[in-house]
Subunit: 143 residues, 2 copies
């Protein structure tokens, strides 16, 4: 998903491209990682100092509804957002101390198919799978 591909997809869906939305998209696409709402606000403020949290959240939820963005809810209540690179579905290894993360290659597809079979009445839309613990650095520092 490049920026231009995404923009034309949005136009096709009749979604207005405002400068703020464009900037939020750029932030999300810049690095392949997740962001907190605050991080996104701070980054966009560099170009649009007046942008409000309202706009950030509204845009993120709009993008989420359009399938462009994923919302991640981590242990401890941390909410994060990341661009949904369709071709690269993945899960995370999350450090409970420093918050750093690694992408995982593994997705429990066999469990998912079994659950679909066992609960055909339930309309599954998404799943989460996260591994928590302490990264190499933090496990040494302990505390």
């Amino acid at each position: 998903m490049t920026l231009n591909e995404t923009l034309s997809r949005l136009k096709g869906q009749g979604v207005k491209i405002t400068p703020q939305r464009l900037e939020i998209l750029k932030v999300l696409l810049d690095e392949e990682r997740y962001y907190s709402a605050e991080e996104i606000l701070k980054k966009v403020q560099e170009s649009y100092p007046a942008i409000s949290y309202d706009t950030v959240y509204r845009t993120l939820y709009l993008f989420k509804k359009l399938g462009l963005v994923l919302e991640l809810n981590f242990q401890g209540g941390y909410r994060r957002f990341e661009f949904n690179r369709q071709d690269r579905h993945h899960h995370h290894l999350v450090c409970l101390k420093c918050g750093c993360s690694q992408k995982l290659s593994c997705c429990p597809t066999d469990c998912l198919t079994r659950i679909k079979e066992e609960h055909p009445e339930f309309a599954i839309t998404s799943h989460s799978f996260e591994i928590y613990g302490y990264c190499e650095v933090c496990r040494k520092v302990k505390s």
Copy 2:
């Protein structure tokens, strides 16, 4: 895990058993499901009208640290707590509309072992695996 087993375990660990803690334990053990902090507060208030949120949260986090309670962070930012029945590790099928849930029998153990092998430097402490969608009732109502 019965109430008495849990209590003697707590005593063994030198944890004070206060009436409020006992009552919170009873609520958690009463039904095999998860609770919001507010639900627990309301239930305990029936016996201890003066109990504060502070006590509820402190107790839940204490129990979590002792391994008695699990903290669940669901899509949408809902935080829930449930008694950790050691023998019955499980995951959840969660309805995004009404919030109802079903226990799942399936746990992605093969993924977990693979991840442990691939990231030996990371000290894994826990994992989450939740399935989201719409239950039979809500998928019909749509909206």
